[in-house]
Symmetry: C2
Subunit: 222 residues, 2 copies
């Protein structure tokens, strides 16, 4: 049984342009899954910090990982309030007026408290999910982590309880009075595009580019 949709709280309700808000779980999950990286916000001595990192979603749990020595991982593992935001840029919206210029995007904000994952099984599964989040199929190709590498890595879990999405799509929305202006208006679509894979300089001879790498794109193939 899948988890229920999110309930807009006083902290996650989208106030500006609420018609762009979404609280249903499939929308939130699809955005989290497509976004390659997230931005993690946390507070140290009253100062907010925002750090980019890779995440992965497994059901109703969000995982991030990092060096066990990292300040961010150590700070977050203690369970302070955290905000994880992902943003996907879909297009530049060019209106006839400067004022109505905008972007087409899909973003998700997750609030909560992270916990360090100590259970070996959950930790291994989370690390595999993070590799799979970036390149589906890759965890079957690469050498998995050994004991030393697992010990050097911290994994944090944030349960998906308080979350909201914000989505803008479509053409510009100009004032009616501007419609006759001789100004080009429309959308420049944007996407994160993958180029031709660049083999490692020390790649063994005869190794082919694997299917996980060939034709790589977001949203990732499953």
């Amino acid at each position: 049984m899948s988890a229920p949709d999110f309930v807009a709280t006083d902290r996650t309700a989208v106030r500006r342009l609420p018609k762009r808000a979404a609280y249903d779980r499939p929308t939130v999950e699809a955005i989290l899954d497509e976004a390659l990286v997230c931005h993690v916000g946390f507070v140290v001595d009253g100062q907010p910090y925002v750090i980019p990192t890779i995440h992965a979603r497994v059901g109703d749990r969000l995982y991030v990982h990092g060096s066990a020595a990292s300040r961010m991982l150590r700070t977050l593992g203690a369970g302070p309030p955290v905000c994880v935001t992902v943003t996907i840029l879909d297009g530049l919206v060019l209106a006839r007026s400067a004022f109505h210029h905008s972007m087409n995007y899909r973003s998700v904000v997750v609030l909560g408290r992270a916990r360090r994952v100590d259970d070996p099984g959950e930790k291994s599964a989370a690390l595999e999910a993070i590799v799979e989040h970036v390149v589906p199929g890759r965890s079957r190709e690469a050498r998995g982590p050994d004991e030393r590498e697992l010990a050097a890595t911290s994994v944090l879990r944030l349960d998906l309880v308080e979350a909201s999405a914000k989505v803008r799509t479509g053409p510009p929305l100009d004032d009616e009075a501007d419609m006759e202006l001789p100004v080009w208006a429309g959308v420049i679509p944007l996407r994160l595009a993958a180029g031709e894979p660049v083999p490692d300089p020390r790649l063994l001879a005869g190794l082919e580019v694997p299917p996980s790498v060939r034709g790589y794109r977001r949203p990732a193939k499953r």
Copy 2:
């Protein structure tokens, strides 16, 4: 005379993998200028929030804008500590071991306190810079803001004083013991690509796609 380079403070010094750090102004400025959006971190009642928004740099000042009614703009205008982070994804780094998987990226973290811009001249220039940041040349094509639109928009300024960059480039860095593994390794380059412009459904007949839109790419043409 250009401003001096940044000095690593206790708060901006890159601790994890310090060889990836950069504090020189040209590096920081180029990353801020290429990134389309930033993620703004601020704190309300102890809870950090991270919100994506468009920024623009003018000299040693960073500007963001938004609705005068926005909670973020009103909160930040009062001058609490803020963090502005931009991240550009350049590639997926696929190592022979899962542990050494990474990303090539360029990111900048700016700390400080924002101030609301009330001076009409600075406010207009900042709004123009934000349009030009996204689509260079566009501010000469679109209708500029009128008094009502200016009043409905808030602009915030964050002086670039405390900032650092972090950059990863190049191939994966596997353990020597893994070099003989028959695992494909290398980099999948990533870039934010623009598609064919989509004209507004109500575009006046006979309007050509302007040079600012034709062949759009990041970093933006100047």
